[in-house]
Symmetry: C2
Subunit: 207 residues, 2 copies
């Protein structure tokens, strides 16, 4: 399976702006990318990073400065064999989850993200194209039905948890085991419990 | 397996207060409870509802007006056979997810919720007790290690998605198929896409 990992090398994780500087966001995004790619390698697959700008990494890269949707669709249009697309901001993934995902049958396999996104997908249908705007999980399902395909959804909390908002950092602290987890701990982030769901606080003395 | 479904019959889903009246919250909580119990029945298990006040349902109930933690621990203390505890505010669950959960081995099986909660668990260890306060998933893991037990975590987006905040209603609209989904649609709730994750809006003309 050709496994693509899209990565925003320019202004990643912009909604973490309230808690991280621009340089920190780039650094943390890189830790997440390494967690995802390292996990893919652990399942004996090769990650191909689709990046908006040049990137010094040990995995093959393809630079495309267009938005995510046309950049991914260019790859889907080029290839006749199945393609998997796994987002770079999923630092909770573990080898067992990636294996379960890649082993799922179906013309198109969808792993929903919290809040309507599509955090990972496999296309085995020549006509399928992505559209990551808005409630993409719903739009992808509708498209697959239109092109007479069948989809399967993968039920995974680890694949659903993309890093979008500051509260998502709590999930990394609670459930992560890789570089992104270590990055947050080293910079003083810790869990704080409030009335409802937990969130994070940063001890600036540890920076 | 003895399957317990705790239910707040008094003031459920209080953090939905910004979008639902008290009567609506009770009604919606009841729809969620029926989705969860119906799904458990579909896996050939019997749900036992642990409720804070009398409830007219077709499943066996046990009334205990204490807070969730002591009420659940009373059941764990009484029983020597394994007990599963599945929260009532998980309207995305499907039979396959419940089966995967109930079939998971381990002294204690934990299904984490978004934001540090423990949305479902199985205890096969005589000393294990719940503590639902704060980051309970972390506290439960630590406790299991202290009592020389081993835990397994179940990786499920559907079990992780409890109904806590208004944005969670978007998940029910996108991924639910039962009464809770129908309840929201009938009352005019719909997905709205913004810059990041989707949320919900209500068309009051449909009320």
């Amino acid at each position: 399976m050709h496994v693509v990992v899209p990565f925003d090398g320019t202004d990643p994780l912009s909604r973490l702006d309230p808690v991280l500087t621009h340089a920190e966001r780039r650094d943390f995004a890189r830790a997440c990318l390494e967690d995802v790619c390292g996990t893919i390698v652990a399942t004996d697959h090769q990650p191909h990073i689709l990046t908006t700008s040049e990137l010094a990494v040990s995995w093959p890269t393809r630079v495309d400065d267009r938005p995510l949707t046309p950049a991914v669709n260019a790859i889907l249009a080029e290839r006749s064999a199945p393609v998997a697309v796994i987002m770079a901001d999923l630092p909770l993934v573990e080898p067992g989850v990636i294996e379960r995902f890649l082993d799922t049958p179906g013309d198109v396999v969808l792993a929903p993200g919290i809040g309507g996104g599509t955090n990972a997908l496999i296309s085995r249908h020549p006509e399928f194209r992505v559209d990551y705007h808005g409630a993409s999980i719903r739009d992808h399902r509708e498209q697959i039905t239109r092109i007479d395909g069948e989809y399967e959804q993968v039920d995974s909390f680890r694949l659903a948890t993309d890093i979008d908002e500051p509260a998502d950092l709590a999930e990394v602290l609670l459930h992560g085991r890789g570089r992104a987890h270590e990055w947050l701990v080293k910079r003083g982030f810790m869990i704080v419990t409030t009335g409802g769901r937990v969130t994070v606080e940063r001890d600036v003395r540890e920076q």
